[in-house]
Symmetry: C2
Subunit: 280 residues, 2 copies
């Protein structure tokens, strides 16, 4: 499984994407703080092999832009447990063997006028292979023009993928990032897709396009809002929104729950949690 | 189901317990803040009937003792969904009919030297009937003598219940309030019990004893620590502990997850979440 012919090109893309995001975010960070990269590797006898690089930046002080951001790259392979393999396309036919490679990113911003953001792209192969991922925005103080810019930028790679792809991936995102117990969306959406059993090149082009579009979609919002003055009330609204974000990730997010229940890297999985939160 | 002969005496006990706790907590609150009681009632055609009283107090300012505390009483009856009824003792034989009555309490304290606390007592009847509940302590800054006092006070009603009851309920508590993904306990424990199919009088005596012992176990700790000076580092430690508390309640707590998934009262269910939290 690990010697899949597609793995080298995917891994190179993912490593490059992680570094491009890090560079772009550091260029926006006014406090002088930079990312800390921490490589990790599964133990030799673990059921899962491989490793990755977690990269985090936590800026403090009046010039801070990124209060807490994590950009994780990982590339792992191994054997799904039989019970779990049943739920994964093509895993029964591969005797549970799989490899997976991706980049996952969550940014919680110091200035409550700058929206929080999440992005993920991944390739998974069993006896089948597919791409998944997406990007979505969580403003504490929504601005219609920010939301419109974000959606328009992410629509581009979707349009190149197919005429209905953007509408489909946008709706998928709205359905996934929803808190039923609150009757409210986590944020203002974006795109989400999974199990795209395209031919490799078509799917890979989408994921490469999303990686590209993500920076175009998000970085201008940081630039536009990071110096906007804010009040204690704005920060309070952001902390309330962060409480909802924590609720979603702990109650519903499939990646978080699966990761924790299968003995994944707790610190890397829970990196998505906000730096602070308030419940009223 | 709702005309069970045991219901009036249980309901009276639970209502009285809620009021006793409120009175004892208000006597400790130095800011002058008092509880707000909010009665609620299920709609006439809801699958569950009945109602309750949520009581919350949120003190602010330098004299605040209880930063956020909720003491909820509820008494409901109705019909479990067939799928869920299978998991509940005696519910298949009652065609899903049940009634339930209890008090549930979570206190998050302003001073990080005062431990957070949780207490719950409940009676549930289907074709069977049982008591459940317990109380447990979550200090941010643990003091051995506080922990010892808490355990000793809660041991009393357990000893009256049976020679091995305290050891059993204490271990049950440690097993239940554990975060496997962190490899750590939520707090320093207490007691937890469920499905106690004693004869009614024996079980009721335990639950009455726990209600009594809870105030003896906790109020002296509030009195002892609420004026201890604390630093920003102490408050930071408390907020980190509160992050773990939110993780437990959202990822694992059966009551929280069941309540949200079955359309319970979201605000009442999530009242247990801390007022603030930090993740590093």
């Amino acid at each position: 499984m690990n010697d899949s012919p597609t793995r080298p090109v995917v891994e190179t893309f993912m490593r490059t994407l992680q570094n491009r995001v890090i560079t772009a975010f550091e260029a926006q960070e006014d406090s002088g703080t930079t990312f800390t990269r921490t490589p990790w590797q599964k133990e030799a006898n673990a059921p899962m092999q491989g490793g990755g690089i977690t990269a985090t930046m936590k800026a403090t002080g009046s010039k801070a832009v990124f209060e807490k951001v994590g950009v994780n790259f990982s590339c792992v392979h191994g054997q799904f447990a039989p019970q779990f393999a049943k739920e994964i396309p093509g895993a029964a036919e591969s005797d549970g063997a799989f490899w997976a490679c991706g980049v996952s990113l969550v940014a919680h911003m110091a200035n409550p006028h700058v929206p929080g953001v999440h992005m993920n792209v991944r390739r998974i192969e069993t006896s089948k292979g597919w791409f998944g991922g997406g990007a979505d925005l969580t403003p504490a103080i929504p601005y219609d023009d920010d939301t419109a810019h974000f959606h328009a930028a992410l629509a581009k790679p979707c349009h190149a993928h197919g005429p209905h792809s953007h509408a489909r991936f946008k709706q998928w995102c709205d359905e996934y990032f929803f808190l039923p117990h609150r009757g409210e969306a986590r944020g203002v959406g974006g795109i989400f897709f999974d199990y795209l059993e395209d031919d490799f090149d078509h799917g890979f082009a989408l994921v490469q396009g999303v990686g590209e579009a993500f920076l175009e979609a998000f970085v201008p919002l940081v630039e536009r809002r990071k110096h906007t003055p804010y009040t204690a009330e704005h920060k309070h609204a952001q902390n309330l929104k962060r409480g909802r974000y924590a609720e979603f990730n702990l109650l519903y997010d499939r990646g978080t729950r699966f990761g924790l229940q299968t003995g994944g890297n707790t610190e890397a999985i829970l990196m998505s949690l906000p730096p602070t939160a308030i419940w009223e």
